[in-house]
Symmetry: D4
Subunit: 149 residues, 8 copies
C-alpha cells in the first residue's frame, strides 16, 4: 500500500519540507500547489496576456492553478490542509471542502488558537494535527502500523 | 424549472432575508445553516451531553451541523456563499469547496476588498456578486430569462 | 427541507416508536427493516419455496430483506443504527458500513458499554446518541434549528 | 489480471498468514488493517496527544485507522471479511457493509455457528468460505481458472 | 416507502398484467417496454423514415426503444426480468445486466428448465421467482412486511 | 412514466414551439436556454456590472447561462439538440457532448446537409430527426407506445 | 494509449485465440471468463463444498465466476461480446448489459442470422463485427489509426 | 505528478506537433483522435463492410472513432480543444462538452475572431489560449510551477 498525499494551504513556512523529509523511506507520493507566491499570482497574465482589471488578472491565474489543484486533490488518498497564523487562507478551507466532496481522507494541521473557527472543517477530518511531525507519524502509522517512540 | 438554493456563510447581517424576500414569486426553495449562533455552537453538548474539553464541545456541535449542511448542499442546484467583513469564515470557504466537489453551481457574494484573497474560490464560481439584490437578479434571470430594469 | 431517515438495527424494544412519536410535526419520513422477526426470517421460503438446508433458507430470506434495506438506505438522508444489549447485531453494523459507503449521514444509538467495540463504527458517524429522545432532538435541531428545553 | 485483496476482521489467529502464504505465486496484492491490537487502540492519543475521556481516546484512534481502512477497501477488488469465535466484531461487519456500498466483491470467512447471525452480511457476498485455504482456492480459481486437486 | 418497478422481458403472455393486478393497493409504480411487438420493431422507420437494409431498420427502432428502457430501468428500484419458453430473449438478459451495472435490485422470473442457462444472471439477482404471483408476494412483503397466507 | 426534455440549440426559428405544442397531452416537462438573444448575451454585465473587454462581457453572461443549462440538462431524461442553417452553433454541439458525458438520451434535429459534419455528434445519439414533428412522434412513442398515422 | 479488452461470451470456438494472436504487437491487455466449461460449472462446489440441489450447485459456481467477470469488465475499456450458433448465451447478453451500465465501449461479434434477435444489444454497441479479424482491425485502428490492406 | 492530455479538434495544421514538441521533458502523456482524415472518414466501412447510404457510411466510422475518443478523454486530466479557421468543427465542441460532463480540466485554443461564438464553451474552460506555445507554457507551469521567460 502506498499513499498519494496532497499538501494544501499555507506557503510561507517550511511545513511541507518537514513532512516530506520526515516521510523519507515511506511509500508516499506528495503533491501540492505551486508555492512560488509571485508565480502563482501572475501565471495567468504572464502566459495568456495581461489584463487591465485586477480582478481578471487574479482570475486567469487562479484558473490555471485550479488545473493543478484538482489533479492533485483528485488523485490523492489523503489531503493535508495547513492553516497558519496569517492571511485569510480561504483557499485552504476551499481545498478542504473540495477534498471532502470528493471523498478524500482529510487531515488538518492547525494551531489551537484556530480550533473554534475551524470546527466545521475539523468535523470533516479524520485527524487534527498540531505539528508537521505528527502528520509524518500519521502517515507512518497508516502505512506500517508503527507508532513513534 | 425550479431551483434549490443553499445560502451559506456569514450569519450576522440580513443578506439571506434580502435574497429570500427579493425572490418571492420565483420557483426557488431556499435552505441554509442554522443561523442562531449560540444554538449552532452548543447544539452538540446540549443534546448529547457536555464535554470538559472545548475542542470536543465544538466538535460535537459541528458534526450535528454537518448533517444539515450536507443535506442542504447535496440537494442544492445553486450554492450561494457569502463572505462578510469579519471573522475567519473558513466554514464558508469550506462549503464552497464542498459544493464544487459535488458539482453544484456556485455563486459567491463578496465585497471587492476580498477579491484577491478569494480568487481561488471565485475561480470555481459561475458568478461573483456584490449585493444580495444581484443574487436575486441572477435567480430571476436563470429561471425566467428576465433582466432587471 | 425534509429528511428521509432510515432506522436500522435492534428490533426487540420500542426505540423506533419513541423516535417516530417524538418526531411528530417534523418533516421526516421514516423507513426501516421488517420488524416482524419470524416474517423476516422465513420470507424467502414462504414466498419462493422451502429449502432443506438451513443456510439457503436463511439466504433466500436475507436477499428479500436486502431489497427493502437497500431501497430504504439508498433513499435516506440520515441512517440511525441502534445497537442493543443482546445478539450479534452484525446486520446493524453492516448497515452502518453500507450507509457510509453510500455517503449517508450516520447516527449511532448505543449504550456506553459498547463504546469500545463500536469505535470504528462511531468514527464514521456524525453523532452517537444514548437515547431515542436524543435522536429526536437531533432531527428537530437539524430541521428547525431549535434546541430542547 | 491481478487482484487487490483486502483482508478485514479478526486479528487474533493466523488466518491472514495462511491466505497470504497460500497465495504465493498468484498475482495478488494484499492489504488489511493494522493487526497490532495495542497500536490500533492507542494510535490516536500516542500521535496526537492524550485524552481524559476513554470515548475520545478510542475515537482518535479509530479515525486514524479509518484512513487505512478506506484506502485499502477503496482500492480493493475483493474484500475478505473474517468472523471469528470471540468479541463483537462490529468493525468486521461494518467493513463488509462499506465494501458493499462501494461495489466490491465480498467474500466472508465464517464458522457455521454464525451462519444465522450473518445471513444479511452473507446475502451481499459472492462466497462464504469456512477456511483460509478455501479463500486461497477462490483467488487461484478467479485468477487462473484452476481448481484444487 | 414506495417502489418503482420495471417489468422487462417476454411480451407474449399476460405476466405483466398478473403482477400489476396483484399489486393493486400497494405503493408501486410500474413501467416496462412497449409491448406491441409490431410497433416496437417498426417504430424507427415509421417515425424517422424507411431503410433499405433490414439491419438499419432494426437499429433505428432499437435505439428509440432504448430511450424508454434506460429511463425505465434508470428510475427503477426493482427490475423484474421474465424469461419465457421461446425466442432468444437476449434483450431480457441485456436488461438484467444493465440493471446490475446500475445497482438496481434484480428479480428474475423464470421456469426451472432455464435454471442452468441463467445461472450467471441469477447470481446477480436478489430473488428467482417461478410465478408472477410470487413477484407480487415479494413486492408486498418488501413494502409492508406481510407474508402470504 | 414522464419525461424531462431539454431543448438545446438554435433559437431563431419556432422549432421549440412546434415540439411543445405537438406534445400537448403527453407527460413531458420541457426546459431550455433563455431564447431572448439580447438578454442571453448581456445578462452578465446587466446584472453584475459592465466590462471594458468584450471577452469578459461575453464570459460573464455565458457563465450565468451555464447555471440554467446545467440545471436543465442535469435534470433531463432526453436532450434534443437542434442544428439550424446558420451560425457556428458550437454551444449546441457542446450541449450534446455535455449530455453524453452525463449519460442522457440524446436526440439530434438536423438538416441532411449537416449530416457529414455532425457524424461524431450523431454517433452519440439515439435518434437523428429532420423535423420537430418527428421529435414529437418520438416522445409520444416512448411514453405511450403509439405510432403516428 | 493502451487498451484493456474483455472478451465475453461463447467458449466453444477459437475466436479468442484469433483475436489475441491477431493483436500481437498492439498495446492491448486481454481478459475474459474461465473458458474451461467443467471448471466454470463446478468451481463453487469443488472449492466450497457440495450441494444437493442443482440450483445451488450452479449458484455457488456462478457467484465465484462473477468475481472474475466484474473485475474484468470493470477494468475494461472495450468489452467484446461474441454470440455463437448454439446455446442460450444469456450470460453473454448479460455481460453486454453490464458493460453498458458501466459505460464501457461495447463491440458485438455475431453472425447475421442473429441480427434481429440482438438488435437491442447492438443498439448499445459502437461496432457489430462478423469475424474475429474485424475485431483485431478495430483494435489496431483505435490504437494506431491504421486501416487494413 | 504527471498529466494525461488529450488534444481534440482541428486536424489540418501542426498545432499538435508544436505542443508535443514544446512539452518534451515534461511528464505529459498525449493522446488524440486519428488525424488521417481519410482513414477517420472511412474506417467503419473499410473494416466492417460498405454501406449504400452515405449516412450509415459516416455513422459506422464515427462510432469506431468514438471508441478512441472516449478512452482518450476518459483517461485525460486535461483536454485541450482547438478551434481553427475552417469547417463546422462540431466534433471539437462536442468533445469540449463531453470533457466538461466528465469533470475534466478544459483548455480551449482559439483565434480571437471566434470568441463570441465560443463563449459558452469558454465558460466551461480553465484557460483560453491563442497559440500552441501558450498551451505548452500552461502545462509546464501546472507541472513545475515555472513561468516562461
Amino acid at each position: 500500500m502506498g499513499l498519494n498525499v496532497y499538501l494544501s494551504g499555507e506557503i510561507h513556512t517550511d511545513w511541507r519540507d518537514r513532512i516530506i523529509d520526515g516521510a523519507q523511506g515511506l511509500d508516499v507520493t506528495f503533491s501540492g500547489p505551486v508555492t512560488d507566491h509571485a508565480a502563482s499570482d501572475d501565471c495567468g497574465v504572464t502566459i495568456l496576456g495581461g489584463e487591465q482589471s485586477k480582478y481578471w488578472h487574479d482570475h486567469k491565474g487562479a484558473m490555471l492553478n485550479a488545473i493543478r489543484t484538482r489533479k492533485g486533490i483528485g488523485d490523492a488518498d489523503v489531503v493535508v490542509v495547513r492553516f497558519g497564523d496569517k492571511y485569510k487562507q480561504w483557499n485552504a478551507a476551499f481545498d478542504a471542502g473540495l477534498a471532502t466532496g470528493l471523498g478524500k481522507s482529510l487531515v488538518v494541521l492547525q494551531p489551537e488558537e484556530h480550533d473554534h473557527a475551524l470546527k466545521e472543517v475539523d468535523a470533516a477530518a479524520l485527524a487534527v494535527a498540531r505539528t508537521p511531525e505528527q502528520v509524518v507519524d500519521i502517515l507512518r502509522y497508516v502505512l506500517t502500523g508503527t507508532l513513534p517512540g
